[in-house]
Amino acid sequence: MNAIIVSTLLGVIMMFCSWGIKSNQVQKNIALIGLLILIVANVAQLNGWLVINYDTKGMLKFNQFGLYTNTLLFALTFIYVWINGEEISKLSNTPADFYSLFFFILCGVSVLTSFDNLLMLFIGIEILSIPLYILTGADKKNMFSNEAALKYFLMGSFSTGILLLGITFIYGATGTFLMADPVVNKVTGMAQEQVMLSAGLILLFAAMNFKVSAAPFHFWTPDVYDGAPTVFTSFMATIAKAAAFVAFINVFGSQYKALAYSWTILLTFVILATLLVGNIIAVFQRSVKRMLAYSSIAQAGFMLFALYGKTDITNEAILLYAVVYSIATIGIFAVLIKMKENSFESFNGLSKAHPLLAFVTTVFLFSLAGIPLTGGFFAKYYMLSALVKAGAGLWLVMVAVVFAAISIYYYFKIVQAMYFATGESALGALPKNYAYKLLALAILLLVLGVFPNLLLNYLYF
C-alpha cells in the first residue's frame, strides 16, 4: 500500500522537477533519493507501518513475498539509475520526465505484486506498460526508436485487449473478479460455464505470455529491444519483465492452481517453444543487442518453469532468478552502452584496453550462462530444482540443460572476443568510477553465487 501511494506521489513530484531544477545531476540525485524513500516506505509496511490504512475489499493483498519483491525491484531500479544516470540524461533536456515515468512503472510493479483481483491485474499491467511505450520512443529523432515504440504500442494494446476479453470470460463464468479459490471452485456444474472459464484462462494466459515475451508471443521483443534506446532496453528487459513474471505466477501459480492439469500441456509447449526460439535464434545474431534480446526470451523460458507447479521453493526460485538475471542484464547493457557499435567485433581486445571492464563483463556473461560461482548458477539450479519438485518429467529438465549448454555458445562469443581476439575495441569514453560501479555489481553476483541465502533469508523474516 505504502509503495503504491509513495511511488505515485514521487512520480508527480518528479514530473514537475524540471521546472525549477535545470541540472541533470541534481535531477538524478532527486530520483535516487526518491527511490530510497520508496524503499524505506515499503520496508516500513513490512514492519506494520502504513501511510494510510485503507480497506481495499480484498482487491489488494499484501504478503511477505509481494512486499519483499517490491523491495528488491526498487533496489534494482536504484542500482539501474545509479549506473545509467548519465546515459539517461543524454536522451533529453529534461531527464526528470523519464525518472517520473520510472516511478509510475514502479507503481505498476507494486500493484502487480499485490493484486488479488483481476481488475487490479489489468490496471497494474496498464500502469506498467504505458510508460514503457513512451520510454521505447524516447529517442525522438531516431526512426528506429519511433518504429519500435509504435510496434510495441500496437502489439501491446492488442494483447491488453486479449487480456480484457479473458477477464470478461472469467467474470462471466464465476461472477466475480476476485481470484480467491472458493469462488473459482464454484464453477462445477454447467458445461457452458466451464468452457467459458477455460477460454478466459487461455486468453489470460496468452496475454501474460505476451508481457513476459514467451514464444510464440515473442515477436515484438527483438524489434522493440533493438529499437529502443539501450538504457531503456535494459530497464524493460529486467525490472519490468520481472514484475510481469511475478504477476503471472500470482495468477497461474497459486490462484488458478485448481485448473492446473488442464493447461500443463499448454505451458510445456510454451516453455519448449520459448527455449527453442530464444536460444537457437540468439546463436545466429550479429549484433550484441539483438542477441541479448533473444537471450532474454531464452531466460524467460527458464523463468516459466516457476509456473510449472507451486512448490515450497517456487517463490525463492523466481525471486533469485529475477534478481540475478536483472543484475547481470543491467550490467551487460551498461557495458554495451559504452561501445560505439553493437557488433560482437566491437568487444575485440577489450581485455587489453580495459581489463577491469572485461572482467566484469565476463562475470555478467557467466552469470547469464549459469556457470557456478556466479549467482546465475543458483538461479538456474533453483528453477530446475523447483521443476523436479513440481513433478515434471526428467526429460523436460534435460531439455532445459541442453539449452543452457547452447546458451554458452552465444554468451561466450563475447568472452572470446574480449580475451582471445586481437584488434581495437570500440570502447567509448567512460565516466569516472563507471567501471567500479560495475565491479560492485559483479561482486554482488559473485557473492550470490556462493551464498544465495543472503537474498532469500529475508523472504521469511
Partner: protein
C-alpha cells in the same frame, strides 16, 4: 582443517599472483606455494582425523563437507606432486603475462583438490566446474593456432556433461529422505532399478566425457595438441582422473544395481576404446597426439578394471590412478623439453637423441618402459592386478585387453626408436642440455616410478580403507 588448506593455499597464491607482475617472482611464488601444498599433502598422509564440515546453504540442505579416504588421499597426493613439478619443469617456457597464467593454474589446482575431497554432491559439482573454467582460459589464451575453436568445443562438450550430472544430482536429491546432498543420504536413497539406471546414465556421461572414454573422446587429442604443454600436463596427469574418481566415489556406491547390469557392456566398450586408441597411437607422428592416444588407452583399461567390480582389479585401478599420473607427467616433460628446444613435435624430424643428449634419452626410455608397464615400474603393479581382475570376469576380455600391452610396446618403443636412436637429425643436433630444474624433476619422478614399482605396499595400505568400503556392503 588440513583439507581446507588444500583449497585455501592455492587460492591465496592465485590471488597473490595477480599482483606480482615480475616473471621470476611470480614463478617463485607459484613454486613455493605449490610446494607448501605438497608438504601439507605429505603431512595429511600421517594424520587420521581429516574431515571438515560446515553449514553452507541451509535452504537447500547442502553442507560444505570435505572428506578424505584412501582414494581421495592418493589423488590429492598426485595433484600436490604434479603442480610444483609442472611449475619447475616448464619454468623456462616463454609466456606473456606469466603471472596470470600461473594464477589460473593454481585456481585449477584448487578446483581439482575440491573435486577429490567434496563429500556433498552440490559442492562436488561446484568444484567440478571450478576446475574446468580456468582451463578454458588457459587453453584459449596461451594455446596453439586453432586453440579458440577447439577449446570451445572441449568446453561445451564437458559443460553439457556436467549439466547432465547436475540433473542427476537433482534427481537423487529429490529421492533422498531428508532432501540433502550429503554422500550418506545419497547412499540411503531408495531407488528402484529403473531410477538407478536413469541416475547411472546421467552421471556416467559426465564422467565418460571427462575421462575420456571411447566414444566420448573426440575432444581430447585436439585439445591436448592445442593446449600449452603445462596445461596438457595438468589435464592428462590429473584432470582425466576426475572421471575415474567420479565413478569410484559416486557412480559405483550410489547405483550398485545399475552398475552390475552394465558391467559387460562397459568392459566391452572400454576394450574397444583401448584397441582403437592403441592402433591410432601407432600411426601418430605428432608427439603430443601420440601421448594423448596412449593416454586414452590407459584410461580405458582403468575404466574396464573398475567395471569388472572385482576387488583385485579395483585395487589395481586405485594404484594405477597414481602411477599413470606420474608416468604421463614424465613423458610430457620430456616431450616438452624436446619441443621447446627443437621447435617440432614431429617424430619424423627426430632421431639420435641418445647420442646428443644421453641423460635425457635415458629418462625418456625410463618413462617409456613405465608406459609399457614393464616389471619393476609402477605401472606393472597396477596393470597386473587389473588384468587379473579382467581375467576373473571373462578370460576373453582379458585376452583382448591384453593385446593392448603388446600394442603399447609397439607404439612406445617405436616412438623411443624414432626419437632416441638412428642418425642424429638436423633438429636434434641443435639441442642443448636441458635446464637443470626440469632434469631434476624428471629424475625425482623416475625414482618415484621405480620405487613404487619395487615396493608398492604403501600405496596398498593407503587405499585399503576405500577398497574395504566398496566391498564390505
Amino acid at each position: 582443517m588440513i583439507l581446507v588448506s588444500f583449497l585455501f593455499v592455492p587460492i591465496l597464491a592465485a590471488l597473490l599472483l595477480l599482483l606480482i607482475k615480475d616473471k621470476k617472482n611470480a614463478q617463485w611464488t607459484a613454486i613455493i606455494f605449490s610446494g607448501i601444498t605438497l608438504v601439507l599433502a605429505c603431512q595429511m598422509l600421517c594424520t587420521n582425523m581429516v574431515d571438515f564440515d560446515k553449514s553452507w546453504l541451509p535452504n537447500l540442505n547442502s553442507r560444505f563437507t570435505l572428506h578424505a579416504d584412501g582414494l581421495s588421499k592418493i589423488l590429492i597426493l598426485l595433484t600436490a606432486i604434479s603442480f610444483p613439478a609442472i611449475f619447475i619443469a616448464t619454468a623456462k617456457n616463454n609466456f606473456k603475462q606469466s603471472n596470470i597464467f600461473l594464477s589460473l593454474m593454481l585456481f585449477t589446482q584448487a578446483g581439482l583438490m575440491g573435486v577429490f575431497m567434496a563429500g556433498d554432491a552440490l559442492l562436488f559439482y561446484f568444484f567440478w566446474e571450478l576446475a574446468l573454467i580456468p582451463v578454458y582460459f588457459l587453453c584459449s589464451i596461451w594455446g596453439g593456432e586453432k586453440r579458440i575453436a577447439i577449446t570451445f568445443k572441449f568446453f561445451i562438450y564437458t559443460f553439457l556433461g556436467s549439466l547432465l550430472m547436475l540433473v542427476g544430482i537433482l534427481f537423487l536429491n529429490a529421492h533422498t529422505a531428508d532432501h540433502s546432498f550429503s554422500m550418506q543420504s545419497f547412499l540411503h536413497a531408495n531407488l528402484t532399478n529403473g531410477q538407478q539406471a536413469t541416475g547411472f546414465v546421467l552421471f556416467f556421461i559426465a564422467f565418460a566425457i571427462k575421462m575420456p572414454l571411447f566414444p566420448f573422446h573426440t575432444w581430447q587429442p585436439d585439445t591436448y595438441e592445442q593446449s600449452p604443454t603445462a596445461v596438457t600436463m595438468v589435464m592428462s596427469a590429473v584432470m582425466v582422473k576426475m572421471g575415474l574418481y567420479g565413478i569410484l566415489r559416486w557412480l559405483l556406491p550410489l547405483f550398485p544395481v545399475a552398475f552390475m547390469v552394465h558391467t559387460h557392456f562397459m568392459v566391452v566398450l572400454s576394450v574397444i576404446g583401448i584397441l582403437y586408441a592403441s592402433f591410432i597411437a601407432i600411426r601418430q607422428d605428432d608427439m603430443k597426439r601420440f601421448i594423448a592416444y596412449s593416454s586414452i588407452a590407459h584410461i580405458g583399461l582403468m575404466n574396464a578394471a573398475i567395471f569388472t567390480h572385482t576387488q583385485i582389479a579395483i585395487q589395481g585401478a586405485l594404484i594405477q590412478l597414481f602411477s599413470h599420473g606420474l608416468n604421463v607427467l614424465g613423458l610430457w616433460i620430456v616431450a616438452d623439453i624436446i619441443e621447446q628446444q627443437t621447435g617440432t613435435r614431429s617424430l619424423q624430424q627426430m632421431g639420435g637423441l641418445a647420442k646428443k643428449q644421453p641423460t635425457l634419452a635415458i629418462l625418456l626410455v625410463g618413462f617409456a618402459l613405465a608406459n609399457i608397464a614393464m616389471p619393476l615400474t609402477n605401472a606393472f603393479v597396477g596393470e597386473f592386478l587389473m588384468f587379473n581382475g579382467l581375467f576373473l570376469l571373462n578370460p576373453w576380455m582379458a585376452a583382448f585387453a591384453g593385446v593392448s600391452v603388446v600394442l603399447a610396446a609397439i607404439y612406445t618403443l617405436n616412438m623411443v626408436q624414432k626419437v632416441a636412436y638412428g642418425e642424429v637429425s638436423e633438429k636434434i643436433n641443435t639441442m642443448q642440455a636441458p635446464y637443470k630444474g626440469a632434469q631434476a624433476v624428471l629424475i625425482v619422478l623416475l625414482i618415484l616410478v621405480f620405487a613404487t614399482g619395487v615396493y608398492p605396499q604403501p600405496l596398498f595400505t593407503l587405499t585399503a580403507d576405500t577398497l574395504q568400503q566398496l566391498f564390505v556392503k
